[in-house]
Symmetry: C2
């Protein structure tokens, strides 16, 4: 395997030779903190994070530097629910601030769980969560067509009132009630990419881009950064960040051990390893639906097309076997 | 007390000579985001942060590396209020998680405001918020005597029910109702101090230790880190961090331009400059009450006693004049 770490940008200059380790960027879902049937108590968050981070130790033990990105779907949903029922004298915060809150919340949970695994193995590594802004384009088509349902299910009258008073776009969702739709624009640039790369180069484990990152735009008049009411797909942001920091391996952890064609159908088939060309062909044939594996496959393709070499989709419990080449779905880009 | 600067470990080694700029650590209060008469809307947060960060640019323009710590009193109070009235199916989060949420929230606000000031001045500097855990001792006397009132004012019956069911310690507060009391233990160690020092050494502006840091202890049986329901004084944590990273200047920004003896009394006198010995003498004579200037003075003393050289207390609007020696209260330690 060719060493791409030459390309790693760093204000500190190249890391000293004994610190040169390959970099893995691992994306985990917000549902990793809340198992089926759980309500998302803090004890459940701690227990699930401890299990997940135990699995991630495999990568540390194999000598990887680690960047971990994380989703926040259920958690930001709970914050929105709390705001709905909040007393009038507590001002509601917009979605960009709520994403920032979940970045702190879940970053703390993950960093503490990781530190405890490291210390119990007597490994002197440090862990740091970076509050991450992600730039999107103000003219991204997603802003004209909000499509991502978030927050509580409302009855029709309540939803329509908010549409009138707050300008929400709303939609009936799966027979369960009415929900707010927000835009999900494409990530363009991770604002803290240089600090993240520098911190990784120094051997620290970095948690970043929680919830896909805090969505901001550059104001067209003032050129200042400004938060927007949107959510960014965390796998797409992860692909941008993985390419930016020259990650040698991009892992998406999800709830299934492998990627399948005709998932749930009569010809379901697990995929072992694919080239960039093969996965693009399957994607273009419509094998990966928009609501499930589609965004993850697009993230993998983006990473490989922007210089990535190896990627993997699997679940946490199959990660070790996948690293040994005995599980997961592997993707190969340029050598 | 030992000099913490000698002990500073750094994976990065000493910064290269051309990068050696003095480091200032500036502590700002959570009230800096909400002016008198305001309720704490997001627009008020942005406007106040922009003003504050404009004042902080003076330090950047004078060639300082910058670490900024920040309080979270009003914001964590609002999150507690929201949890009080939250629907039952949204699990309440403990205080350590709420502190982590405000670290993300206010870190985002500050980093965006700073980036906008930097970019409008065409300065290519990066800003990063570090989610910060702070270790306290499980046998800190504060845990036996919770004294810090937090969260909503309740009527007596509601407060007593929570005391019974949740084990809260409660107290009638200033005739306005009953509140929960939580411990305010001494900060012992900033867990992310090394990552913070490394990031500063690379020229990035770092926001850290929001709300005094997320309070954690090392479990006496398992030795694992564990969050605790407590709040740490942000000025005391700032002093520990300032000493740990070898800050050359420690600034506490507050609502008054100077420190006074006999504040509000007939012999009120503004203090211009004091040695460590002078300020200790005034402190021991009871000039700085526990509920106002006391903790800030103790933080300054801790910093100077652990190797700090220069410290300053003033308000944001006097900062520039204070740097010119024409305002503020200055403290000098060892040369």
């Amino acid at each position: 395997m060719k060493d791409r770490r030459e390309a790693l940008p760093s204000a500190a200059g190249p890391p000293s030779p004994e610190r040169r380790r390959p970099v893995a960027l691992v994306a985990v879902g917000g549902h990793a903190f809340i198992q089926k049937g759980e309500t998302g108590t803090i004890d459940e968050h701690w227990r699930n994070a401890a299990h997940l981070c135990g699995r991630l130790m495999t990568l540390v033990e194999r000598g990887y530097e680690l960047v971990i990105t994380y989703g926040n779907g259920p958690q930001v949903g709970n914050l929105l629910l709390q705001q709905e029922s909040s007393p009038d004298d507590v001002p509601a915060m917009p979605l960009d601030v709520l994403v920032a809150q979940t970045e702190g919340w879940l970053g703390y949970i993950l960093q503490q769980a990781l530190l405890n695994h490291l210390r119990s193995r007597h490994m002197r590594r440090f862990v740091v969560t970076v509050v991450t802004q992600v730039l999107v384009e103000p003219d991204d088509p997603a802003f004209r067509d909000p499509s991502k349902p978030i927050g509580p299910f409302l009855d029709q009258a309540a939803a329509e009132e908010r549409a009138r008073t707050l300008g929400w776009k709303i939609k009936e969702d799966a027979g369960r009630g009415w929900r707010r739709l927000v835009p999900s624009p494409q990530p363009v640039e991770v604002v803290q990419r240089l600090s993240i790369a520098d911190t990784v180069a120094q051997g620290h484990i970095v948690l970043a881009a929680g919830g896909g990152g805090i969505p901001i735009v550059r104001d067209e008049e003032t050129r200042a950064y400004r938060g927007v009411e949107a959510v960014i797909d965390k796998d797409l942001t992860s692909a941008v960040l993985a390419a930016d920091i020259g990650a040698d391996l991009f892992v998406i952890l999800t709830s299934v051990p492998q990627v399948y064609t005709d998932f749930g159908g009569p010809n379901e088939k697990a995929l072992g390893a694919l080239t960039l060309q093969q996965i693009e062909t399957l994607r273009d044939a419509g094998h990966f639906p928009r609501g499930s594996m589609g965004p993850k496959i697009n993230a993998i393709i983006n990473y490989l097309r922007t210089g990535g070499t190896r990627a993997l989709i699997t679940n946490p419990d199959s990660l070790e076997a996948a690293i040994n080449g005995a599980a997961g779905t592997h993707f190969v880009g340029r050598i």
